[in-house]
């Protein structure tokens, strides 16, 4: 599984960013390789329109299979995530990345549909 997080920083102890399209960073954790990579989202964050769909497109390119975030994506982004089969879990906006991952593993986050 490749698990993506919306985060304000680039490490496990970074706080989560509750926003999806205008998040500061995307972090992707590859469970098989045990590797955490990050992708700067500032170019998208500055878009006047359609930050959501472009961010969702980026997640697709990052080959994420699961997304963990705070509030959940808007309608446009949600339709891309659905099409690309990326499962989305919300409610992790107040945690740091590590806590969010653990909460996901313990089935404590609700799935966004």
């Amino acid at each position: 599984m490749r698990i993506a997080f919306t985060a304000k920083g680039t490490g496990w102890d970074s706080p989560m960013d509750p926003r999806f399209g205008r998040t500061a960073f995307f972090l992707v954790y590859d469970e098989e390789k045990d590797e955490l990579i990050h992708s700067d989202n500032s170019a998208i964050e500055g878009a006047a329109h359609g930050a959501g769909p472009v961010a969702a497109q980026k997640l697709f390119e990052l080959k994420a299979t699961v997304l963990i975030t705070g509030n959940g994506p808007g309608g446009n982004a949600a339709s891309i995530l659905e099409k690309t089969g990326i499962k989305t879990f919300v409610g992790a906006g107040e945690m740091n990345v590590k806590q969010a991952y653990e909460a996901y593993k313990n089935n404590e986050l609700s799935e966004f549909k």
């Binding site: 769909p53 309608g75 891309i80």
Partner: protein, 288 residues
């Protein structure tokens, strides 16, 4: 003659004035009222008439045809609104983000993005006594008010060319929707309250109308509360003050129930008469 009723901010009495003035004017003139506050159309709550016509309104958006598409990605590159996105081997279109500029469609080498129509809202035409009322309502989830506003004005132009007064209840604010609603009006009535918020909003509205080079005058609603700053501003800046609608709890109560007030509140009728006198003179001038 087209008259827009506008304000810098919502909640100043724009809808109260639009609905009451329109109903009042029908005694002497032919009148159509159009609610152009398409995000939150409220005039219809006060004017319940008989439905004569409804029309769905559309905007044009591209639709992806897979067959000839080479997935070159030019469509995504030319879209300034992120409304067209290439996702692996497919192209996705996001109707709500699309501004109908046609760039992706017409620049596509393989003609894979023909434009089709997409519903964005509805126009409903009602008749209440002698008053024609046209309500325009944006579908929830649709973000762009401007195309629907311009189509509503077109509907008015087509159906009411002989009508003396075309009253537009404009959307609030100073951004794109209000510009679209007022840009081809002959005259603007700015509604405000005699409070610091009211004065501030009035100044913004005046600035907006100046940028459009529009003739306008001011109506003070809830006169009696607050202070004299709005009055002084109008005097110092030589802005015509058309009427003062007094502050009254009774008006607020009637409004809360969705009732018209002019036939129950004499001061309101007087204010409307002052406005009518001015508009009749003005329209005689415009028509001659």
């Amino acid at each position: 003659m087209k008259i827009s009723i506008a304000s810098g901010k919502g909640g100043t009495g724009k809808t109260t004035l639009s609905t009451n003035l329109s109903a009042y004017l029908t005694e002497k003139s032919t009148v159509v009222l159009a609610d152009l506050d398409v995000e939150e159309p409220n005039s219809g709550l006060f004017i319940q008439g008989k439905l004569v016509n409804t029309e769905d309104k559309y905007k044009m958006i591209p639709e992806w045809k897979e067959e000839a598409c080479t997935l070159c990605g030019l469509c995504q590159e030319v879209c300034n609104f992120n409304a067209v996105i290439r996702l692996g081997t497919q192209i996705m279109v996001f109707p709500q983000l699309c501004h109908s500029c046609y760039a992706c469609s017409e620049l596509c080498q393989s003609s894979s993005l023909p434009m089709i129509s997409q519903k964005i809202g509805q126009i409903s035409h009602y008749k209440r006594g002698k008053l024609d009322f046209v309500e325009s309502r944006l579908d929830v989830g649709e973000e762009q008010a401007v195309p629907l506003i311009s189509q509503t004005i077109k509907y008015i132009d087509q159906h009411f060319s002989q009508t003396r007064f075309k009253i537009f209840d404009a959307p609030p604010g100073t951004s794109c929707p209000v510009i679209e609603a007022t840009k081809d009006s002959d005259f603007i009535i700015l509604v405000t309250e005699p409070t610091p918020f009211g004065l501030h909003d009035l100044k913004l509205a005046v600035e907006t109308m100046r940028s459009l080079n529009k003739a306008f005058a001011v109506v003070i609603n809830r006169y009696g509360i607050g202070n004299d700053e709005v009055l002084e501003y109008c005097q110092n800046e030589k802005k015509r003050l058309l009427a003062k609608i007094p502050n009254s709890r009774r008006i607020a109560e009637l409004y809360s129930r969705g009732e018209l007030v002019f036939n129950q509140i004499p001061e309101m009728a007087q204010a409307l008469k002052d406005i009518e006198d001015y508009l009749l003179k003005l329209s005689a001038k415009v028509l001659s």
